[in-house]
Symmetry: C2
Subunit: 389 residues, 2 copies
Amino acid sequence: MNSLSEKKSAGIVKTEYFTFAEPPEEMILESGDRLGPITLAYETYGKLNDDKNNAILIEHALSGSAHAAGKHHPDDKYPGWWDEYIGPGKPFDSDKYFIICSNVIGGCSGSTGPASINPATGRPYALDFPMVTIKDMVNAQFHLVKSFGIKKLLAVAGGSMGGMQALQWSVSYPEMVNSCIAIATSAYLSAQGIAFNEVGRQAIFNDPSWNEGNYYGKDVPAAGLSLARMIGHITYLSEKHMHEKFGRNFQDTSKTSRRINSEFTVESYLHHQGIKFVERFDANSYVYITRAIDYFDMQEDYSGDLAAAFEDANANYLIISFTTDWLYPSDSAKQIVKALRVSGKNVNYTDIVTDNGHDAFLLPGELLEKNITNFLKSQYSRLQISEDN
Amino acid sequence: MNSLSEKKSAGIVKTEYFTFAEPPEEMILESGDRLGPITLAYETYGKLNDDKNNAILIEHALSGSAHAAGKHHPDDKYPGWWDEYIGPGKPFDSDKYFIICSNVIGGCSGSTGPASINPATGRPYALDFPMVTIKDMVNAQFHLVKSFGIKKLLAVAGGSMGGMQALQWSVSYPEMVNSCIAIATSAYLSAQGIAFNEVGRQAIFNDPSWNEGNYYGKDVPAAGLSLARMIGHITYLSEKHMHEKFGRNFQDTSKTSRRINSEFTVESYLHHQGIKFVERFDANSYVYITRAIDYFDMQEDYSGDLAAAFEDANANYLIISFTTDWLYPSDSAKQIVKALRVSGKNVNYTDIVTDNGHDAFLLPGELLEKNITNFLKSQYSRLQISEDN
């Protein structure tokens, strides 16, 4: 395996757009509402082989986008959100696999969402956008995957909300998913998770520019969205990591400067994260996507029997949690693992020891790298052997 | 010990007001600013004995008040905030001890705070109120305690921010504190704690009625303060307790009613807590008191050596933490215990197993009751023996 310093980039990449072409050019959502036309933003890295059996679908988290690896311009300051793990010689190896990362419906990074034009009115949907669920996001991606002529994905993979989508793929399209990599996630959101999402939404609703979501072309609810992001960021870090990173340090170190509105370093960090987020994210999408996460519950239709939910899945699973992740604690992963084992599935599970909290799935980590690399290698070689027979 | 059902109430009580009477009738605060005149709201339960050695000072938490036990009117729906633990036959036994609970300066329940009239302007202080610290709160209470002719407190006790004050009392006035009961607290606030306080403050600052704190006589920043309280409440409950209490239940149970703005039970609970809080609390006080908590750091003046901070204390300590308290985790208490032991103090420590999280110090709990009851009994009898000799 290459060491971190030797890793190569996926290079200069471009976001592409897929619009549902075949009639009815719309989807019936889980709520019963119809949504159309539908566009999905996506990127691909590597090449689809002739057997079309080396495709991996990458799923992003709440604030992610289709831009998972490489850079759009040579002078981009940062690469895609999972560049640590996607690229030549990396765990999702673009020299070997064909990697697709699709933005979700409801999002604001090129896919159809609340900021898109509602064909019924000619104006942005805003809160007239129908409720979308994790299942709906997956159903939309199904059309994108089919458009490549792919019959079976080598793997579906993601962390956090991306992990929810990966799990959902494995039960919504069992015949299309060879393996599923679900990291730092849960089969349903906890009450605490719902609570954190709700205070974030309330921060947006309280913003004087909110205007029931009809702020397009006017001032956006920047302070509210920024605060929602600040709240989110607290939950992404472990208490220990936060204390080691920021401690009780002040921006201005002179003690006499400490007044009611002085800034601790941790506050300055959160303010910065909030402000940065507003530049790239839409408040309505934040409301819709957090709601989709809230509503995710794989066991709901099975009277709380999660094993029954996985009954018809055909995938092999790699489940990973992080010891200091308190937003999606290791216990959530262990529930998934237990249910998969009860339903007779093949499952690899690792609880990775780290101080990095929920954010660990986005950060460099040798154990996470090795787990993904070797799981995929094994899946790919098994798939080829079974196809040869 | 009486069982819970047999416990008696402190009865009908009244909040009293103590105004600094002796010149200079003001305090020099830790910041160097002067504050005066100063009034403290307080309540007492039980009788001060002739030796004046049975007095216990109770310290409240962020949102507390002087009203710790009994009721103000027979038809009050709820008693004082620590009624479980204060009253005849209860751990803080008003048949035996003279119990004082003082509201803090900076507060909004009768003590001098940002809503008080600034003598320099004739208008409410608002953000012209000087920054107050935990040490300042304790220094103000010193005057109240002296006004009773009390030379030594049998105990100073509190949970959360109340525990910070109790610890501070034991080092600010070592000759006046016989024993210290600090529950669910820390010797300094963690970076995560600061972060949660800050997002609460930002919720207030984002409220269109905030007006830099000058909202008295106008609309108060109700939505912001309510949201700050909602965020706080998430941190007071354990993830497990929250899930057991609310799960993923909906207010409206029909599945077809689930839309973008449907309500989970946990959301409804938080909204209710937020709205209730606005009726009784002032947003400026929330800002000032959370800042006082942020700034609390007993080891800061001792180069991070907490044992050195306790060097001159003369108190015996009872330190209590709760296994599921993630706002003030057991490790915070263990740091205090370790420092007290290094500095040669007499310390009792219990890490109480509970699902109730930080809120456990306010809820009925047999182990908490027994720990306090027996610690106080032992302290009181030792004090009497040493005075007899």
